[in-house]
Assembly symmetry: C2
DNA sequence: TCAGTAATTGTAATGGTTTTCATTTCATTC
DNA sequence: GAATGAAATGAAAACCATTACAATTACTGA
């Protein structure tokens, strides 16, 4: 099956390629009514589809953006992907989804391929280990937006959660309930990822602001599969925690699984709050109090920032946008 | 910032474009060791990235495939996307993710754009309303694989669940537990989507095979937001069902939410089985018995089928592959 | 030294579109 | 019937890489 090109259309319609091209780009003022009709019919007849690759080569724009998430297993990532996809669909863009798997090598590979494919911009959840690469995109003025995580020194537009507040909301709630021995578990032990650090810092600060002494035994940063172990260690402490803040949805799942397995009652034996909402939070027994990230809002903002860089509208915004989490108050605390 | 082209590299390295191109395509036998080194250094120095768009134009292959899911809100869709992404990453392909939102217009739009963008193939969860379009891809010999849903008359390679068996597994389990008044709720009321039909058929057949009379009041196909109403109707029946089969993860969520709200005890007051596993199934109270789709296996198979069409290896496989679900036996029934 | 071969490099066409600008057409007017 | 100007159309270069093949150079052995 031979592919139909603009030349075929031109020949059939007995006009020049340029006229057909004008038609394709809806610049009808350059042609007579008759020609327009003729071209229209020919395109219909030949079932012609313009080759966007060729167009992109010429126009240096692919109407495609890349989304590189650090880890697609997080509910938050999939929510964000979904919302970004939706936003860009409306703008006539496609998105290429990439999962870096928390692996900087993979991330690098993806970014380079995306640039080679001439995507118009990238939204990235940075692993944090490719500074030179981020730097280069920045200095090339390549449209880029960071999501979820910031890299201070880089001055790249970023959309992230106010993680400090996220912890604070949870801690305040625990304390309101009279609980003072509060533990926190997070994942992502590999690098100094900003959300983890900020959540722990928020945890510390909030405790301090309530005059509660800080106990390093109450802080765990472990891989998902080591969470049961970490929890066991909590319960073996002389003074086990009365409350646990789960740093993300995966941690929360593991915490709930552990409590179920060991028949530990929530909230009576231990109170639990999770950062990131989960679909079952509102009908679990007990319903789970969570600190919710406004994922859709964040995704829309990131998409908007990227689009404005692509279109070079507005002065360049390189600020770090921190969106506020909300406490969804339920019964696990 | 001027972009660097192969010409720039050639000039700097004082060789011809073709030699650089040979280098890029790793045909080192066409050049001396010295030349190879020289080019390598120059590329490094200029930070040159080949323009894949230009290459694609020439080679008619973009190393990109499209994935059009009918509805990205289903856990199953995201699991499949994740696995497909992973599979193709290994093959050096990128995937463009599209969410048709159960809307055939949107689906059509996506498919046409993907083809215009010259993707090498498409995996699609068909909405079912674009027969002519599917037909055309087929007759153009464009690589395409259907997922989750089949369209009988089209003869297109398909990977889907053995939905009949999925229902049977659940019904058999209910009956084993001595429950005979069994209801089923599914979504997707718009079109005659094959999974829904097959699941309902499997439900009917299984009941029949156990000699249980079939009661049409026990079958509901409704939108997600109407599920509570549908459940209420069940409970207002003279003989309310003793068991409910939830047709997918979204239905299951709504069923559990309803039971929680109305303080109906699972499994004592009503038994529940869900098709599609959910992350919380194993630690919910009670743990939830589910019929699990082998999502990763299905995704891998679909990807493999597509890739073999793209590479034209193997005789064309246009069969419908039905993978077996498994019953994850837990305590909700 | 020279024919002949091997090693390496250069040239030019190709892919399908966009876009500039030159050229043609045609109705209008004097 | 020719000049004018606007409208319509067309030719050609550009985008950037690939690739077949032509051209050049280096080197061998007689």
């Amino acid at each position: 099956m031979k592919t139909i090109t603009i030349t075929d259309v031109a020949n059939h319609a007995k006009v020049s390629k340029s006229t057909v091209s004008q038609y394709l780009n809806k610049r009808y003022e350059y042609m007579s009514e008759k020609t327009r009709k003729k071209i229209e019919e020919t395109i219909e007849e030949l079932n012609y589809q313009p080759n966007i690759i060729a167009r992109s080569l010429k126009q240096k724009s692919t109407f495609t953006v890349g989304v590189v998430v650090a880890n697609i297993l997080h509910t938050f990532s999939t929510q964000v992907i979904r919302a970004i996809e939706n936003y860009f669909y409306e703008q006539g863009f496609h998105i290429i989804v990439c999962n870096a798997d928390d692996n900087p090598e993979k991330e690098k590979n993806y970014i380079e391929m995306l640039r080679a494919k001439q995507v118009d911009g990238i939204i990235i959840f940075p692993t944090g280990d490719n500074l030179d690469l981020y730097q280069r995109m920045k200095s090339d003025q390549f449209p880029i937006v960071f999501m979820d995580r910031t890299i201070q020194e880089l001055n790249i537009a970023t959309v992230m959660l106010d993680n400090h507040l996220a912890s604070k909301l949870a801690i305040d709630r625990f304390i309101e309930k009279g609980l003072e021995h509060i533990a926190i578990i997070t994942t992502s032990i590999i690098r100094d990822i900003s959300p983890r650090i900020e959540r722990i810092q928020g945890y510390k600060d909030s405790l301090a602001s309530h005059g509660i002494p800080f106990n390093s035994e109450y802080i765990k940063t472990v891989n998902a599969d080591e969470i049961p172990l970490a929890l066991s260690e909590f319960f073996e402490l002389e003074k086990p925690p009365q409350a646990i803040l789960a740093g993300n949805d995966i941690v929360l799942n593991e915490v709930l699984r552990y409590m179920k397995q060991h028949e530990i009652n929530i909230p009576d034996d231990i109170a639990v709050i999770g950062i990131d909402d989960v679909p079952y939070a509102s009908f679990y027994t007990p319903t789970i109090t969570t600190v919710n990230q406004p994922a859709i809002e964040m995704a829309n903002l990131a998409a908007e920032l990227l689009l404005s860089q692509i279109n070079k509208t507005g002065n360049e915004d390189t600020s770090v946008h921190r969106l506020k989490p909300t406490l969804l108050s339920r019964n696990s605390c």
